[in-house]
Amino acid sequence: MGIKFDFRTKLLVIVLMMSLVAVLTSDILIYTLLGLLCIYLLIQGFYRQTVKYFVVCCVFIVLRLYSDGNGVTFLMPEMFLFMILRILMMVMAAQPVLGMPPGEVVAVFKKIHAPNGIALPVTFTLRFFPTIRSEFSDVFASLRLRKLLSWRHPLDAMEYIVTPVIFRSSRIAEELAASAESRGISNPGVHSCRRKLLFRKRDWIMCVAAIAVTVMYFVLERTVAV
Protein backbone atom coordinates (compact mmCIF):
# COMPACT_ATOMS: atom_id res chain seq x y z
CA MET A 1 0.00 0.00 0.00
CA GLY A 2 2.97 2.34 -0.17
CA ILE A 3 5.49 3.88 2.13
CA LYS A 4 4.14 6.28 4.69
CA PHE A 5 6.18 9.38 5.29
CA ASP A 6 5.91 11.77 8.21
CA PHE A 7 4.07 15.01 7.51
CA ARG A 8 7.23 17.03 8.02
CA THR A 9 8.93 15.13 5.21
CA LYS A 10 5.97 15.74 2.94
CA LEU A 11 5.97 19.45 3.75
CA LEU A 12 9.68 19.67 3.01
CA VAL A 13 9.15 18.10 -0.41
CA ILE A 14 6.42 20.63 -1.14
CA VAL A 15 8.61 23.58 -0.18
CA LEU A 16 11.54 22.26 -2.22
CA MET A 17 9.31 21.63 -5.21
CA MET A 18 7.93 25.16 -5.04
CA SER A 19 11.39 26.66 -5.07
CA LEU A 20 12.41 24.49 -8.00
CA VAL A 21 9.45 25.25 -10.25
CA ALA A 22 9.88 28.96 -9.68
CA VAL A 23 13.41 28.80 -10.96
CA LEU A 24 13.73 26.04 -13.56
CA THR A 25 13.56 27.12 -17.18
CA SER A 26 15.03 24.17 -19.02
CA ASP A 27 12.32 21.90 -20.39
CA ILE A 28 14.42 18.77 -20.05
CA LEU A 29 14.93 19.46 -16.38
CA ILE A 30 11.23 20.01 -15.84
CA TYR A 31 10.31 16.77 -17.61
CA THR A 32 12.80 14.74 -15.63
CA LEU A 33 11.60 16.35 -12.45
CA LEU A 34 8.10 15.32 -13.41
CA GLY A 35 9.33 11.78 -13.69
CA LEU A 36 10.88 11.93 -10.23
CA LEU A 37 7.65 13.32 -8.84
CA CYS A 38 5.73 10.43 -10.30
CA ILE A 39 8.07 8.01 -8.59
CA TYR A 40 7.65 9.94 -5.32
CA LEU A 41 3.88 9.52 -5.56
CA LEU A 42 3.99 5.90 -6.69
CA ILE A 43 6.14 4.75 -3.79
CA GLN A 44 3.55 6.20 -1.43
CA GLY A 45 0.76 4.25 -3.05
CA PHE A 46 -1.00 6.98 -5.04
CA TYR A 47 -1.29 4.86 -8.17
CA ARG A 48 -4.50 6.17 -9.72
CA GLN A 49 -3.76 9.80 -8.96
CA THR A 50 -0.25 9.53 -10.46
CA VAL A 51 -1.65 8.23 -13.72
CA LYS A 52 -4.21 11.03 -13.87
CA TYR A 53 -1.65 13.75 -13.14
CA PHE A 54 0.78 12.27 -15.63
CA VAL A 55 -1.78 12.21 -18.42
CA VAL A 56 -2.83 15.81 -17.79
CA CYS A 57 0.79 16.95 -17.68
CA CYS A 58 1.49 15.22 -20.97
CA VAL A 59 -1.46 17.00 -22.54
CA PHE A 60 0.03 20.35 -21.53
CA ILE A 61 3.52 19.34 -22.59
CA VAL A 62 2.19 18.44 -26.01
CA LEU A 63 0.26 21.70 -26.21
CA ARG A 64 3.39 23.62 -25.33
CA LEU A 65 5.41 21.82 -27.98
CA TYR A 66 2.66 22.43 -30.53
CA SER A 67 2.34 26.08 -29.68
CA ASP A 68 6.02 26.63 -30.36
CA GLY A 69 6.23 29.82 -28.34
CA ASN A 70 3.05 31.40 -29.64
CA GLY A 71 0.48 30.11 -27.26
CA VAL A 72 -2.71 28.37 -28.35
CA THR A 73 -5.15 31.10 -29.39
CA PHE A 74 -5.65 34.02 -27.09
CA LEU A 75 -7.25 31.71 -24.59
CA MET A 76 -3.96 30.09 -23.67
CA PRO A 77 -1.02 32.39 -24.00
CA GLU A 78 2.41 30.86 -23.81
CA MET A 79 2.97 32.02 -20.29
CA PHE A 80 -0.04 30.17 -19.03
CA LEU A 81 1.13 26.94 -20.61
CA PHE A 82 4.44 27.57 -18.91
CA MET A 83 2.77 28.12 -15.56
CA ILE A 84 0.19 25.37 -15.73
CA LEU A 85 2.70 22.57 -15.95
CA ARG A 86 4.60 23.96 -13.02
CA ILE A 87 1.45 24.46 -10.98
CA LEU A 88 0.41 20.89 -11.71
CA MET A 89 3.74 19.71 -10.42
CA MET A 90 3.26 21.68 -7.23
CA VAL A 91 -0.14 20.06 -6.81
CA MET A 92 1.44 16.66 -7.33
CA ALA A 93 3.98 17.40 -4.64
CA ALA A 94 1.14 18.45 -2.38
CA GLN A 95 -0.94 15.32 -3.06
CA PRO A 96 0.48 13.32 -0.15
CA VAL A 97 -0.56 16.10 2.20
CA LEU A 98 -3.91 16.73 0.53
CA GLY A 99 -4.61 13.02 0.54
CA MET A 100 -3.77 12.51 4.23
CA PRO A 101 -6.37 10.49 6.07
CA PRO A 102 -8.40 12.78 8.36
CA GLY A 103 -7.17 10.91 11.42
CA GLU A 104 -3.61 11.84 10.54
CA VAL A 105 -4.55 15.49 9.97
CA VAL A 106 -6.11 15.62 13.41
CA ALA A 107 -2.96 14.02 14.84
CA VAL A 108 -0.85 16.70 13.13
CA PHE A 109 -3.01 19.45 14.60
CA LYS A 110 -2.59 17.99 18.06
CA LYS A 111 1.16 17.70 17.61
CA ILE A 112 1.59 21.29 16.49
CA HIS A 113 -0.90 22.51 19.11
CA ALA A 114 -3.02 24.22 16.49
CA PRO A 115 -5.64 26.53 18.03
CA ASN A 116 -9.09 25.00 18.46
CA GLY A 117 -10.65 27.78 16.44
CA ILE A 118 -9.10 26.38 13.28
CA ALA A 119 -8.46 22.74 14.18
CA LEU A 120 -12.08 21.96 15.04
CA PRO A 121 -13.70 23.39 11.91
CA VAL A 122 -11.09 21.65 9.75
CA THR A 123 -11.87 18.33 11.42
CA PHE A 124 -15.54 18.77 10.63
CA THR A 125 -14.70 19.84 7.06
CA LEU A 126 -12.70 16.68 6.44
CA ARG A 127 -15.40 14.59 8.07
CA PHE A 128 -18.09 16.01 5.83
CA PHE A 129 -16.33 15.85 2.43
CA PRO A 130 -17.37 12.31 1.50
CA THR A 131 -21.04 12.94 2.23
CA ILE A 132 -21.50 16.13 0.20
CA ARG A 133 -21.88 14.44 -3.13
CA SER A 134 -24.74 12.26 -1.92
CA GLU A 135 -26.47 15.21 -0.25
CA PHE A 136 -26.59 17.03 -3.56
CA SER A 137 -27.47 13.98 -5.61
CA ASP A 138 -30.42 13.19 -3.30
CA VAL A 139 -31.75 16.68 -3.88
CA PHE A 140 -31.16 16.53 -7.64
CA ALA A 141 -32.95 13.17 -7.81
CA SER A 142 -35.98 14.51 -5.95
CA LEU A 143 -36.10 17.59 -8.17
CA ARG A 144 -35.95 15.46 -11.30
CA LEU A 145 -38.78 13.26 -10.04
CA ARG A 146 -40.94 16.26 -9.29
CA LYS A 147 -39.90 17.89 -12.55
CA LEU A 148 -38.96 21.09 -10.75
CA LEU A 149 -35.55 21.58 -12.35
CA SER A 150 -35.90 23.99 -15.19
CA TRP A 151 -32.99 25.92 -16.59
CA ARG A 152 -35.50 28.50 -17.75
CA HIS A 153 -35.94 29.54 -14.13
CA PRO A 154 -32.36 29.44 -12.87
CA LEU A 155 -33.03 31.39 -9.68
CA ASP A 156 -35.81 29.02 -8.71
CA ALA A 157 -33.53 26.11 -9.49
CA MET A 158 -30.87 27.64 -7.26
CA GLU A 159 -33.38 28.02 -4.44
CA TYR A 160 -34.62 24.45 -4.75
CA ILE A 161 -31.10 23.03 -4.81
CA VAL A 162 -29.57 25.16 -2.11
CA THR A 163 -32.36 25.22 0.49
CA PRO A 164 -32.68 21.51 1.30
CA VAL A 165 -28.90 21.07 1.27
CA ILE A 166 -28.56 23.86 3.80
CA PHE A 167 -31.31 22.48 6.05
CA ARG A 168 -29.83 19.00 6.00
CA SER A 169 -26.25 20.14 6.48
CA SER A 170 -27.21 22.41 9.35
CA ARG A 171 -29.01 19.55 11.05
CA ILE A 172 -26.06 17.21 10.53
CA ALA A 173 -23.71 19.85 11.94
CA GLU A 174 -25.79 20.00 15.09
CA GLU A 175 -25.96 16.24 15.48
CA LEU A 176 -22.25 15.81 14.88
CA ALA A 177 -21.45 18.52 17.39
CA ALA A 178 -23.74 16.90 19.98
CA SER A 179 -22.05 13.57 19.42
CA ALA A 180 -18.61 15.14 19.76
CA GLU A 181 -19.55 17.13 22.88
CA SER A 182 -20.97 14.05 24.58
CA ARG A 183 -17.60 12.38 24.07
CA GLY A 184 -15.58 15.17 25.57
CA ILE A 185 -14.33 17.21 22.64
CA SER A 186 -14.47 20.34 24.79
CA ASN A 187 -12.37 18.79 27.52
CA PRO A 188 -9.82 21.45 28.42
CA GLY A 189 -7.11 19.00 29.47
CA VAL A 190 -4.52 17.31 27.27
CA HIS A 191 -5.92 15.35 24.33
CA SER A 192 -3.92 12.26 23.47
CA CYS A 193 -3.64 10.65 20.06
CA ARG A 194 -3.55 7.01 19.01
CA ARG A 195 -1.47 7.85 15.97
CA LYS A 196 2.12 8.45 16.86
CA LEU A 197 3.82 10.76 14.40
CA LEU A 198 7.37 9.52 14.15
CA PHE A 199 10.22 10.83 12.08
CA ARG A 200 11.84 7.59 11.02
CA LYS A 201 14.85 6.44 9.05
CA ARG A 202 12.86 6.47 5.82
CA ASP A 203 12.00 10.12 6.48
CA TRP A 204 15.66 11.02 6.94
CA ILE A 205 16.53 9.23 3.70
CA MET A 206 13.72 10.94 1.81
CA CYS A 207 14.62 14.39 3.12
CA VAL A 208 18.27 13.98 2.28
CA ALA A 209 17.38 12.66 -1.17
CA ALA A 210 14.95 15.52 -1.78
CA ILE A 211 17.50 18.14 -0.77
CA ALA A 212 20.19 16.47 -2.88
CA VAL A 213 17.90 16.39 -5.91
CA THR A 214 16.97 20.02 -5.41
CA VAL A 215 20.60 21.13 -5.17
CA MET A 216 21.48 19.06 -8.22
CA TYR A 217 18.69 20.64 -10.25
CA PHE A 218 19.71 24.13 -9.21
CA VAL A 219 23.25 23.42 -10.34
CA LEU A 220 22.10 21.85 -13.60
CA GLU A 221 19.84 24.80 -14.28
CA ARG A 222 22.78 27.10 -13.87
CA THR A 223 24.95 25.12 -16.27
CA VAL A 224 22.22 24.56 -18.85
CA ALA A 225 21.07 28.14 -18.77
CA VAL A 226 24.61 29.37 -19.31
Partner: protein, 201 residues
Protein backbone atom coordinates in the same frame (compact mmCIF):
# COMPACT_ATOMS: atom_id res chain seq x y z
CA UNK B 1 -34.13 27.44 40.27
CA UNK B 2 -34.58 29.86 37.40
CA UNK B 3 -31.53 30.23 35.24
CA UNK B 4 -30.75 33.44 33.41
CA UNK B 5 -30.85 32.71 29.72
CA UNK B 6 -27.81 34.14 28.06
CA UNK B 7 -27.06 34.27 24.40
CA UNK B 8 -23.66 32.72 24.21
CA UNK B 9 -20.96 34.80 22.57
CA UNK B 10 -18.34 32.13 22.98
CA UNK B 11 -17.23 30.10 19.99
CA UNK B 12 -18.71 26.66 20.58
CA UNK B 13 -18.33 23.20 19.09
CA UNK B 14 -21.67 23.71 17.35
CA UNK B 15 -20.26 26.81 15.66
CA UNK B 16 -17.12 24.96 14.65
CA UNK B 17 -19.26 22.19 13.18
CA UNK B 18 -21.41 24.64 11.21
CA UNK B 19 -18.37 26.51 9.88
CA UNK B 20 -16.49 23.30 9.07
CA UNK B 21 -19.39 21.69 7.27
CA UNK B 22 -20.34 24.74 5.25
CA UNK B 23 -16.72 25.36 4.28
CA UNK B 24 -16.65 21.78 3.01
CA UNK B 25 -19.75 22.43 0.92
CA UNK B 26 -18.28 25.65 -0.46
CA UNK B 27 -15.03 23.92 -1.44
CA UNK B 28 -16.82 21.09 -3.20
CA UNK B 29 -19.22 23.39 -5.04
CA UNK B 30 -16.30 25.63 -6.03
CA UNK B 31 -14.35 22.65 -7.39
CA UNK B 32 -17.33 21.35 -9.33
CA UNK B 33 -18.01 24.82 -10.71
CA UNK B 34 -14.35 25.36 -11.62
CA UNK B 35 -14.19 22.09 -13.47
CA UNK B 36 -17.23 23.06 -15.51
CA UNK B 37 -15.89 26.49 -16.38
CA UNK B 38 -12.20 25.65 -16.38
CA UNK B 39 -12.32 24.48 -19.94
CA UNK B 40 -11.58 27.98 -20.94
CA UNK B 41 -8.53 29.08 -19.08
CA UNK B 42 -9.23 32.68 -19.86
CA UNK B 43 -12.63 32.50 -18.21
CA UNK B 44 -11.39 30.55 -15.32
CA UNK B 45 -8.71 33.01 -14.46
CA UNK B 46 -10.70 36.16 -14.88
CA UNK B 47 -14.33 35.36 -14.24
CA UNK B 48 -14.21 32.18 -12.20
CA UNK B 49 -14.15 34.13 -8.99
CA UNK B 50 -17.08 36.25 -10.09
CA UNK B 51 -19.32 33.25 -10.73
CA UNK B 52 -18.14 31.61 -7.54
CA UNK B 53 -18.95 34.80 -5.65
CA UNK B 54 -22.52 34.34 -6.75
CA UNK B 55 -23.16 30.64 -6.32
CA UNK B 56 -21.33 30.25 -3.03
CA UNK B 57 -23.02 33.26 -1.44
CA UNK B 58 -26.04 31.39 0.03
CA UNK B 59 -23.79 28.98 1.93
CA UNK B 60 -21.55 31.77 3.21
CA UNK B 61 -24.47 33.96 4.27
CA UNK B 62 -26.23 31.10 6.04
CA UNK B 63 -23.05 30.02 7.78
CA UNK B 64 -22.40 33.57 8.96
CA UNK B 65 -25.88 34.17 10.24
CA UNK B 66 -26.24 30.76 11.85
CA UNK B 67 -23.03 31.13 13.80
CA UNK B 68 -23.82 34.77 14.45
CA UNK B 69 -20.47 35.57 15.98
CA UNK B 70 -16.94 36.39 14.92
CA UNK B 71 -15.01 33.70 13.16
CA UNK B 72 -16.60 32.48 9.89
CA UNK B 73 -14.88 34.96 7.56
CA UNK B 74 -11.46 34.39 9.07
CA UNK B 75 -11.73 30.60 9.29
CA UNK B 76 -12.97 30.26 5.71
CA UNK B 77 -10.10 32.33 4.40
CA UNK B 78 -7.55 30.52 6.55
CA UNK B 79 -8.70 27.21 5.07
CA UNK B 80 -8.29 28.66 1.60
CA UNK B 81 -4.90 30.01 2.61
CA UNK B 82 -3.71 26.54 3.57
CA UNK B 83 -5.10 24.79 0.49
CA UNK B 84 -3.90 27.45 -1.92
CA UNK B 85 -0.59 27.57 -0.12
CA UNK B 86 -0.12 23.86 -0.57
CA UNK B 87 -1.22 23.81 -4.16
CA UNK B 88 -0.04 27.05 -5.61
CA UNK B 89 2.78 28.41 -3.57
CA UNK B 90 3.61 29.79 -0.16
CA UNK B 91 2.92 33.37 -1.23
CA UNK B 92 -0.78 32.43 -1.29
CA UNK B 93 -0.82 32.05 2.44
CA UNK B 94 -0.25 35.70 3.33
CA UNK B 95 -2.53 36.72 0.48
CA UNK B 96 -5.56 34.77 1.71
CA UNK B 97 -4.71 35.23 5.33
CA UNK B 98 -4.51 38.98 4.85
CA UNK B 99 -7.82 38.91 3.04
CA UNK B 100 -9.36 36.88 5.80
CA UNK B 101 -8.16 39.28 8.47
CA UNK B 102 -9.52 42.25 6.55
CA UNK B 103 -12.83 40.47 6.00
CA UNK B 104 -13.10 39.61 9.68
CA UNK B 105 -12.12 43.13 10.72
CA UNK B 106 -14.86 44.48 8.48
CA UNK B 107 -17.25 42.63 10.76
CA UNK B 108 -16.13 44.65 13.78
CA UNK B 109 -18.82 45.26 16.32
CA UNK B 110 -21.71 43.49 17.94
CA UNK B 111 -24.28 41.59 15.93
CA UNK B 112 -22.54 42.31 12.67
CA UNK B 113 -22.97 38.69 11.64
CA UNK B 114 -26.74 39.05 11.83
CA UNK B 115 -26.75 42.00 9.45
CA UNK B 116 -26.91 41.08 5.76
CA UNK B 117 -25.17 44.29 4.68
CA UNK B 118 -22.16 43.63 6.90
CA UNK B 119 -22.04 39.98 5.88
CA UNK B 120 -22.13 41.05 2.24
CA UNK B 121 -19.15 43.31 2.80
CA UNK B 122 -17.09 40.47 4.22
CA UNK B 123 -18.18 38.22 1.37
CA UNK B 124 -17.24 40.79 -1.26
CA UNK B 125 -13.80 41.13 0.32
CA UNK B 126 -13.40 37.35 0.36
CA UNK B 127 -14.51 37.06 -3.25
CA UNK B 128 -12.16 39.85 -4.35
CA UNK B 129 -9.24 38.16 -2.64
CA UNK B 130 -9.87 35.07 -4.73
CA UNK B 131 -10.42 37.12 -7.88
CA UNK B 132 -7.07 38.79 -7.52
CA UNK B 133 -4.97 35.85 -6.42
CA UNK B 134 -3.87 35.02 -9.94
CA UNK B 135 -1.78 38.16 -10.04
CA UNK B 136 0.45 36.82 -7.34
CA UNK B 137 0.96 33.63 -9.35
CA UNK B 138 2.09 35.55 -12.35
CA UNK B 139 4.53 37.45 -10.19
CA UNK B 140 5.85 34.13 -8.82
CA UNK B 141 6.63 32.65 -12.23
CA UNK B 142 7.58 35.78 -14.12
CA UNK B 143 11.32 35.63 -13.58
CA UNK B 144 11.57 32.03 -14.74
CA UNK B 145 9.51 32.76 -17.82
CA UNK B 146 11.61 35.77 -18.70
CA UNK B 147 14.70 33.61 -18.34
CA UNK B 148 13.48 31.38 -21.19
CA UNK B 149 14.22 34.24 -23.53
CA UNK B 150 10.86 35.93 -23.73
CA UNK B 151 10.84 39.69 -23.70
CA UNK B 152 9.18 41.82 -21.04
CA UNK B 153 6.85 43.17 -23.68
CA UNK B 154 5.62 39.74 -24.65
CA UNK B 155 4.96 38.90 -21.03
CA UNK B 156 2.90 42.06 -20.73
CA UNK B 157 0.82 41.13 -23.75
CA UNK B 158 0.27 37.57 -22.63
CA UNK B 159 -0.71 38.45 -19.11
CA UNK B 160 -2.64 41.56 -20.00
CA UNK B 161 -5.94 40.08 -19.00
CA UNK B 162 -4.54 39.62 -15.61
CA UNK B 163 -2.27 42.58 -15.13
CA UNK B 164 -3.49 45.39 -17.35
CA UNK B 165 -5.50 47.81 -15.22
CA UNK B 166 -8.51 47.71 -17.55
CA UNK B 167 -8.96 43.97 -17.28
CA UNK B 168 -8.14 43.78 -13.62
CA UNK B 169 -10.77 46.40 -12.91
CA UNK B 170 -13.32 44.56 -15.03
CA UNK B 171 -12.68 41.33 -13.21
CA UNK B 172 -12.83 42.91 -9.78
CA UNK B 173 -15.97 44.86 -10.57
CA UNK B 174 -17.69 41.78 -11.99
CA UNK B 175 -16.73 39.84 -8.89
CA UNK B 176 -17.99 42.51 -6.52
CA UNK B 177 -21.25 42.92 -8.39
CA UNK B 178 -21.98 39.21 -8.52
CA UNK B 179 -20.99 38.77 -4.90
CA UNK B 180 -23.42 41.50 -3.87
CA UNK B 181 -26.17 40.03 -6.03
CA UNK B 182 -25.47 36.64 -4.53
CA UNK B 183 -25.87 38.06 -1.03
CA UNK B 184 -29.10 39.82 -1.94
CA UNK B 185 -30.62 36.62 -3.23
CA UNK B 186 -29.27 34.74 -0.24
CA UNK B 187 -30.95 37.20 2.08
CA UNK B 188 -34.26 36.54 0.37
CA UNK B 189 -33.74 32.84 0.95
CA UNK B 190 -32.78 33.45 4.56
CA UNK B 191 -35.99 35.34 5.25
CA UNK B 192 -38.23 33.04 3.22
CA UNK B 193 -36.95 29.77 4.59
CA UNK B 194 -34.49 29.96 7.41
CA UNK B 195 -35.95 32.74 9.55
CA UNK B 196 -39.44 31.44 8.95
CA UNK B 197 -38.56 27.95 10.09
CA UNK B 198 -36.53 29.21 13.04
CA UNK B 199 -33.23 27.76 11.84
CA UNK B 200 -31.83 31.27 12.09
CA UNK B 201 -33.02 33.52 14.87
Amino acid sequence: MEKEKSVSTKFSVKDAATIGIFCAIMFVVFMAYSMLTGASLFYSMIFNAAGAGFILAPFYVYMSMKVGKHGPALVYNIMWAVIAGLMMGPFMIPWFLGGGIIAELSMWGKDSYHDIKRVSVSWVITALVRAAHGMSEIWFFKDAFLATGVSEEQVQIQTQYYTAPKWVLLSLVATAVLAVLGCMISNKLIVKHFRKSGAIR
